[in-house]
């Protein structure tokens, strides 16, 4: 029995090995597997981005793999990994389903939750599948792990930003505020998850070095009431309210901030404040909130010529603006793959990895290049140099890009009661 199974598995692995060549001959579609928590913003937005890119590419004839035009095909699977009751193991199983059952050639998108993305790295290594992480996971540990383990995790890429980069952007804004408006007191309220906590602690340290007075509050997921913290911030005379949360109750925080007319400017990373529907949902109470959408192009802006083209195409296909984090990066990931495959002239993962490493592409949110060591997208404040972040402020019901200056469309406004 044993011998037979060994034989069978040999044949099978041989078949798997030759599959890419076989499929070229038949011009089978290249399957892009997208493990996403599709019931959540970061999931469905990524799904739409991927599908839009695939439609565009297929309409233009597909991917040129060594002379043969092959179309892309999306296989989206719901990992549910943002739901608290679902173990990461389930998300990983979903990913294995993509790889083993749906025969995905490449993975784009998630898993969305940081720990799931980290856990998935070993899976990708095992199955030798290239993955471009585009949404959800913000943890710097991802890039660090790739850099530390060299060859082991070379199949993992991430084309969206991560916490330290985002922090640098915020620090730049805060430095300007300090310089122009003499702001020097910040109140930091973050959620108790690794990326938010890291963000909060990093921010506190960085601000202290610049002689800010800071206070850090960490809230467990599911906190419903922030009144005490908010009142405290008012008492301490904070001029900046720095938030980092991806839970729904955080919208309540902003409403309360507005009701209390606290003399502070809220900014940060807040899931609830990303979507265009946020304005209506809070009845305009969220005005002046500065939100980091992680990557440019997740809201209308003129970063590169492609940005508005993407936004328009998205609007045309889905009937609304890109809603938030994960849209533009997922869209770009497909184009990045197309470019890499065309240059590699094969879908063999090892060759495509090399192609991705040497990639230099002008994209929706700036110049797309991967760092060769960490496989993270190289960030910049200049779209001509690297990937640009999308920091917007809610102004009169619109999301207006306010940072970085080279891509900004408006200036930061202050609530009238701060004067």
């Amino acid at each position: 029995m044993r011998k037979k199974s060994f034989y069978v598995s040999m044949v099978l692995s041989a078949a798997l090995f030759f599959m890419p060549f076989l499929s070229i001959a038949q011009e089978k579609p290249i399957i892009i597997g997208a493990p996403l928590a599709t019931a959540f913003l970061y999931g469905w937005d990524a799904e739409r981005g991927i599908k839009l890119a695939i439609d565009e590419i297929n309409a233009a004839g597909g991917v040129n793999v060594g002379g043969k035009k092959r179309p892309f095909k999306a296989e989206v699977i719901d990992t549910r990994d943002l739901e608290p009751a679902v173990p990461v193991a389930d998300a990983l199983l979903a990913m294995e389903k993509l790889i083993l059952d749906k025969n995905a050639d490449f993975i784009v998108g998630g898993p969305v939750r940081s720990e799931a993305a980290l856990a998935a790295m070993d899976l990708l290594r095992k199955h030798k599948k290239i993955s471009i992480l585009t949404t959800g996971a913000l943890t710097p540990a991802y890039g660090k792990r790739i850099a530390e383990n060299g060859d082991k995790y070379k199949y993992c890429f991430r084309n969206s930003s991560h916490v330290p980069v985002m922090m640098g952007d915020f620090m730049a804004i805060l430095n300007d505020l300090q310089k122009d408006h003499k702001f020097n007191k910040a109140y930091i309220m973050v959620q108790d998850v690794a990326h938010a906590r890291a963000g909060g602690e990093y921010m506190q340290k960085a601000l202290k070095e610049k002689n800010w007075e800071t206070e850090l509050k960490i809230y467990p997921t599911g906190t419903t009431d922030y009144s005490v913290g908010l009142i405290d911030s008012g008492k301490k005379g904070a001029q900046v309210l720095f938030l980092w949360m991806d839970m729904p109750e955080s919208a309540a925080l902003l409403q309360q901030w507005s009701n209390m007319k606290l003399k502070s400017l809220p900014m940060g990373f807040m899931n609830a404040a990303e979507q265009p529907g946020f304005w209506k949902a809070t009845g305009g109470k969220g005005e002046y909130m500065i939100v980091n959408l992680v990557n440019g192009g997740n809201a209308p802006a003129k970063i590169t010529p492609w940005t508005m083209k993407f936004v328009e195409a998205y609007k045309k296909k889905w009937g609304l603006e890109p809603e938030g984090y994960g849209t533009s990066s997922s869209y770009m990931a497909v184009y990045q793959l197309k470019d890499a495959i065309e240059r590699a002239k094969t879908t063999d993962p090892d060759v495509v990895v090399a192609a991705l490493e040497s990639q230099d592409l002008m994209g929706v949110y700036g110049r797309m290049r991967f760092d060769k060591k960490t496989h993270q997208i190289i960030p910049s404040w200049d779209p001509a140099e690297g990937a640009v972040t999308g920091i917007i402020q809610w102004q009169a019901g619109k999301r207006v890009q306010v940072f970085p200056p080279k891509a900004a469309e408006g200036k930061i406004l202050f609530p009238p009661w701060m004067k």
């Binding site: 199974s5 083993l100 939750r113 856990a119 070993d122 998850v193 467990p220």
Partner: protein, 334 residues
């Protein structure tokens, strides 16, 4: 008035004692079903050679089956309804990760060590809850995994919300399959034997009438603690295994799914039979996999199945099947 009467089949009566087996049919009657299960479980990975994904699903099925066994034993033989099966899974997984990643023990050592030490730790932690009964025990055990999650999160220990990553995976797919399949079978038949041993009877006595057990000079708390040890032993193995299977341990090992799906399996398979727990997992988990394309709707479907079973067929499939196998029914006039 008509009444349904159930009568043991002749072959059942003859084979009830070991001495009366007369023919190969009777031997088959007796050993057929377990043989089918054992052989089936062992050749399943080979049968599914051409469906690599479903081979992975088998591992998960077995993991859920083991957790379900642990639940079934506690609930239907000891009378402790533990809604926090995930707690054992989490403890086992984290310990295994600590042994493997921090202390660099090899897989073959970290899994058994995590299983044993996890069982000890779980038992000690659950000790205070043992005097509770019924709903109270159920609710408190439901809170345990939640609390564990929150503590790890708040203290930012053991990798915080990112978890511990980079555990060694098992050497190859066959070790991975057969390890969990064989352990599951050992647990299943071991437990089935155990509950009919003298000590097993004492533990079952605790469920029927704990007062009488104490009046017999036996410490109920000790027996319950031992039962929790046995149960958490199984749960911790499941956790340690799943941690190594995915090279990762994190707070979502304490996730509610690890508590709920096994319970659903037991309800569907038939509580109090142990076999039912395994059967339930082998039915429920693949169904849920088949429904994966429906997204969250699959949860709705299996919740409806679960409610349906609780309400209309609370005995579960296994009890029903056993009755049909051992007895025949007829209508008699009363």
């Amino acid at each position: 008035m008509m009444r349904k009467e159930r009568i043991d089949r002749g072959v059942r009566v003859r084979t009830a004692g070991l001495y009366a087996i007369a023919s190969w049919q009777e031997i088959l009657y007796l050993v057929g079903p377990p043989l089918f299960l054992i052989v089936g479980a062992i050749i399943l990975p080979i049968l599914l050679e051409f469906a690599p994904y479903w081979k992975r699903v088998i591992n998960i099925v077995c993991v859920y089956a083991i957790i379900a066994l642990s639940f079934d034993f506690l609930a239907n033989f000891v009378g402790l309804v533990c809604l926090g099966g995930a707690f054992f899974v989490g403890i086992g997984g984290y310990l295994s990760a600590i042994f493997n990643v921090y202390l660099h023990f090899p897989v073959y050592l970290s899994i058994p060590l995590a299983t044993i030490s996890g069982a000890v730790i779980s038992t000690v932690l659950l000790m205070p809850a043992l005097p509770l009964r019924g709903v109270y025990f159920a609710i408190v055990t439901l809170m345990y995994p939640l609390l564990a999650t929150r503590v790890i999160e708040a203290l930012n220990i053991m990798g915080g919300t990112n978890g511990i990553i980079g555990l060694d995976s098992l050497p190859n797919a066959y070790v991975e399959h057969y390890m969990v399949i064989i352990v599951m079978l050992i647990f299943l038949y071991g437990m089935r034997r155990f509950v009919n041993q003298d000590m097993g009877l004492v533990i079952r006595g605790v469920k029927d009438n704990d007062q009488a057990v104490r009046a017999s000079g036996i410490s109920v708390t000790k027996m319950k603690a031992f039962a929790v040890f046995v149960s958490s032993f199984m749960g911790c193995f499941a956790g340690a295994y799943i941690a190594h299977m995915y090279s990762w341990a994190g707070i979502s090992l304490f996730a509610l799914d690890f508590s709920i799906i096994p319970i659903a399996s037991v309800v569907i398979g038939g509580g109090g039979t142990l076999l039912g727990a395994v059967l339930g997992s082998f039915i429920l988990v693949p169904i849920s996999e088949l429904l994966r394309n429906f997204g969250t709707f699959r949860i709705v479907i299996y919740c409806v199945i679960l409610t349906g079973f609780i309400v209309f067929k609370s005995e579960g499939i296994m009890v029903y099947a056993m009755r049909k196998y051992h007895q025949f029914e007829r209508w008699v006039k009363v």
